[in-house]
């Protein structure tokens, strides 16, 4: 069974707290989460969290925008109500049942992979052993077997290294977490974004994908709204793809309350907020992680 949680303008900070709880709780099951935007703009950096290297902190602070560090790996994004978030949390055993033979590369879809990828050299689809699944395998799988169907109207949909793109323009950034029995793959899709926020808030990262070719943010990124009239269209495509998964697993739509139950399980908490005064990361204290008075 896969639990489907649909959210609308739910704060991404709280969504990531829930996802961390689901990821860190043994036997939490399989989840797909779709969130149609976050109410306030927020900068999200990956687990490495070198805020000063990735973010123009003074600019972000002056705009009243929070900066958070998420528990998963990956790059930096400025998210707002026009960002569509999707998260896939699957046990490896479930992935094996759904896709017993995964292709590690599909030349028509994969434009390039990093030089460290050992599976990209094959020129035709190669079945891989799903007992040894690695981040690049999940990245390839997500593009070939899932999001290819979501964006089926656009033949130039492709996986550019670790990004979803139309041609050479990125519209979706990914982050992953890998554990013994499960993985989390989550994506921020840029339906629209404020050009000014992107340029002003984010620095050019030290490590950039080859295909970016030193382009600035606005030249490198594209907006889904230029291809889809509404986010609902994309969400409907997502739901259709989920319902058409191979072997037809049961999909159970659940409530936010059911997901929030997992927050009660003791688990490591790595999501943090940047304190502009202390110039350092601090633990998130909110209704999901209250201060407990002894």
């Amino acid at each position: 069974m896969i639990r489907l949680l649909r959210l609308n303008r739910f704060p991404i900070l709280k969504q990531l707290q829930i996802e961390e709880a689901l990821y860190r709780t043994p036997n939490a099951g399989n989840w797909i989460i779709i969130n149609n935007g976050t109410p306030e703009p927020i900068v999200i950096v990956g687990a490495t969290g070198k805020a000063d290297k990735l973010v123009n902190l003074d600019e972000v602070e002056s705009r009243g925008i929070q900066t958070m560090k998420r528990f998963s790996g990956g790059g930096t994004v400025v998210a707002d109500e026009n960002t569509l978030f999707t998260s896939i949390l699957l046990e490896f055993e479930t992935l094996k049942q759904l896709f017993p033979t995964m292709s590690s590369s599909t030349p028509s879809l994969i434009s390039s992979t990093s030089s460290s990828s050992s599976s990209s050299s094959s020129s035709s689809s190669t079945s891989i052993n799903v007992s040894n699944i690695y981040p690049k395998d999940i990245m390839n799988w997500s593009a070939n077997s899932f999001y290819k169907h979501v964006f089926h109207e656009h033949l130039d949909f492709t996986l550019q290294e670790n990004d979803y793109a139309f041609g050479k323009q990125k519209f979706g950034g990914n982050a992953q977490s890998f554990s013994k029995h499960k993985f989390l793959h989550h994506t921020s899709f840029l339906y629209d974004f404020k050009d000014d926020h992107m340029m002003a808030c984010l620095k050019q990262p030290d490590k950039i994908p080859e295909y970016r070719q030193n382009r600035d943010h606005l030249s490198f990124l594209c907006k889904l709204k230029d291809r889809y009239q509404s986010k609902d269209h994309i969400i409907n495509n997502l739901l259709q793809t989920i319902n058409n998964l191979p072997t037809s697993p049961s999909i159970k739509e659940v409530t936010l309350k059911e997901a929030e139950q997992f927050l009660l399980n003791p688990h490591p908490k790595s999501n943090q907020l940047f304190d502009y005064n202390l110039k350092n990361w601090k633990d998130i204290i909110n209704e999901y992680n209250p201060i407990i008075k002894n």
């Binding site: 990093s114 690049k136 670790n162 982050a175 490590k207």
Partner: protein, 145 residues
């Protein structure tokens, strides 16, 4: 003659290191390696196979010194460009030191995963757990499939 002696000594030490690694290093199914240092002390890291699969390592979250963990507990996180991957405790034990060099140079794991890219050292009385881990030849066979 002195040069010959020095060369011979260096070659001997290199061979000794290889032999030591061969017999005192075991491997887990999650691609950690464990080296027995003697007196119930062990050193661990991730294998060359694992670092190649992960790609460029950009950050390592090491365990805390003094922390106790059971076999298979997630104790460290290795972050590559897009993924944060758990590293698991190979045996029951408690951590005695961590590799401080990884904070400034996480790429050591890519460059020398079995040597300077070590992650942590721990103390463990569970020799049986160590002996039940894979030998090099078993691990090489495991990673072929």
């Amino acid at each position: 003659m002195l040069k010959t002696l020095r060369f011979g000594t260096r070659a001997f030490n290199q061979n000794l290191n290889t032999i030591t690694r061969t017999y005192c290093t075991r491997y887990t199914k999650d691609h950690e390696w464990v080296n027995s240092l003697g007196s119930q002390n062990y050193r661990m890291g991730i294998t060359d196979f694992a670092q190649r699969q992960l790609g460029d390592i950009v950050f390592v979250e090491t365990p805390s010194v003094g922390k106790t963990a059971s076999q298979d507990d997630p104790v460290s996180v290795v972050e590559s460009v897009k993924a944060a991957s758990d590293v698991f405790m190979p045996m029951d034990g408690s951590f005695t030191s961590v590799n401080q060099d990884l904070e400034g140079s996480p790429e050591l794991i890519n460059e020398d995963p079995m040597g300077e890219g070590w992650i942590a050292e721990f103390k463990s009385s569970k020799t049986d757990q160590f002996n039940s881990l894979m030998t090099k030849s078993q691990y090489d066979e495991y990673t072929k499939h």
